[in-house]
Symmetry: C2
Subunit: 340 residues, 2 copies
Amino acid sequence: MENSNLQDYSHKRFNILTGEWVLVSPHRAKRPWQGQNETVNNEKRPTYDKTCYLCAGNTRINGEVNPKYEDVFIFTNDFAALQSDSPKFNVNDGLLIAESETGICKVICFSPDHSKSLADMSPLEIQKVVYAWQDQYKELGSNPKINYVQIFENKGAVMGCSNPHPHGQIWSQSTLPNEVYKKNTQQLNYFNKNSSSLLGDYLEQESENQERIIFENDGFVVLVPFWAIWPFEAMIVPKRHMANFLEMTEAETLQYAEAIAVLTKAYDKIFNTSFPYSSGIHQSPTNGKENTHWHWHMSFYPPLLRSASVKKFMVGYEMFGSPQRDITAESAVKMIKALL
Amino acid sequence: MENSNLQDYSHKRFNILTGEWVLVSPHRAKRPWQGQNETVNNEKRPTYDKTCYLCAGNTRINGEVNPKYEDVFIFTNDFAALQSDSPKFNVNDGLLIAESETGICKVICFSPDHSKSLADMSPLEIQKVVYAWQDQYKELGSNPKINYVQIFENKGAVMGCSNPHPHGQIWSQSTLPNEVYKKNTQQLNYFNKNSSSLLGDYLEQESENQERIIFENDGFVVLVPFWAIWPFEAMIVPKRHMANFLEMTEAETLQYAEAIAVLTKAYDKIFNTSFPYSSGIHQSPTNGKENTHWHWHMSFYPPLLRSASVKKFMVGYEMFGSPQRDITAESAVKMIKALL
Ligand SMILES: O=P(O)(O)O[C@H]1O[C@H](CO)[C@@H](O)[C@H](O)[C@H]1O
Ligand SMILES: O=P(O)(O)O[C@H]1O[C@H](CO)[C@@H](O)[C@H](O)[C@H]1O
């Protein structure tokens, strides 16, 4: 399928995973930009910063001292949004509806080297991060109070990241967050109807014409989904149907790490800057159910649109209407592929 | 209902209008901030700027000259995200689903005075903006191809606003955007079940204990909804059940203008800065249906959290999980009310 209308005229595309739409305005990238520019900090950071609360051996705000870690270091978030020991309560007062929510929030340092990001790490180094994510998913998930484990990374000041030291977060909780709930429903409905994985079938379709595929190895495909929202959004999807990433073989953990390395390195080349993004892994809930309808995947939502300093704002129309993008998924793929 | 648990422990609240949840972490505002600060521009702007493409008498990028307007000025967006003359097409190719989307996008200048914002305008001046919004909703809505009219404003550079001249936008289109679709469904279900307006009944409940009400006059209530996401989010709701704002009486148009004036003036006092936000009016679709289940309202989503330079980032967890807020709706009300 190559439909030139999609490159020329405004249209909306359907997100099969969430059941929602994105408005695409291909012609709109031509408008001049007179709005806010982001400050770009391309300064090389030192490998160790004595004021950084994530560097090895340093003291955190609560007085704890970080160990002299050598690859990955994990600790419970000192300012966790979710607490594990709060009381259970709920409000069911007419149209006021609330429920207590408990959980455990962790921080995971990807490397002791303050100057690095995932884009500067080798697949073997990233594989250690993957192992740590797996351990956390397993450990947190085995807690009867934790029914979902959200692994994510905010990279770059423009993405609200308060410390440039390479790190991500894990927020785990008792109920399914909105986005996970939507993806759970869409995948379940599809699986019940077709007895196959929604994302698996989607991958098959994308493999046929390759138009949106950035990279693939034996185990994984890196692509820009047809319904991408962010200018350079991308997704890493395992070729095999796996509900969560504990099902990976040893070989696949390295292939997954390679996919992350390839994508993040290409990202840094787009605007010659350490490319900001939020990334997140969506996989089966840890609620003890079968969850075979799930096909785990990792998504990257980078905000930059035109240059290292001009981002896409998801504001007004996007907040009250639908997400809207100015360049098509297909042109983004071309730009990223040229940088591999 | 005053439940002290809601002020102390993490919980989620249900948004009756969208059917989605927000995670509230009341204790989290205590964490220190080491992340990105926004540049604050508190410079007084001149009343006329010869480089501004929205000032009266100036030439826009496409060569058109703005009239010497005296209150409100409306024109079709020079870089519209939606076009009215594009071909009709759709893609229905397995899991690739898309539809052409047409529409009309307009820009509306609230005042010829470059230095002002709605917060600096009198209710009588704002009433003229209300009249213009009504005209546009009526005119665009009577076009058979336009089934929804989204009126919104992005205020401030941090909200992607590319020009400080007081202005808003109107994007109208043939189908319902995601957020409107959700609110349509929730209101319809409630109306079918209870034969009353969801927001009307909610207002009644809020009036009983006043805990979340900021201000009210004869026709309108300004409140922080129980399920607010943004730190100082607020909503203006008409007391009478009206599907859209064409149903306002003459007196109500001025009461509505007063509500906008009161809220935006209080906002500017919170951090002694011209308070950025995106605002939007949700009202009945213009699809020729009855739509009596709709109760129109205007929402304000301001991003600032701790000061004029520190905003709330909706990133990582918020993008992959659910929106999350650090101060409760009730404490926000207290802060805003103290500034009236
Ligand atoms: O149309 P403007 O003001 O140039 O652009 C702004 O508002 C639009 C509608 O909310 C957004 O899509 C843009 O990202 C934002 O920068
Ligand atoms: O936890 P951090 O890195 O201090 O905070 C960042 O990530 C969180 C989770 O996405 C967000 O809620 C915050 O708004 C953001 O600044």
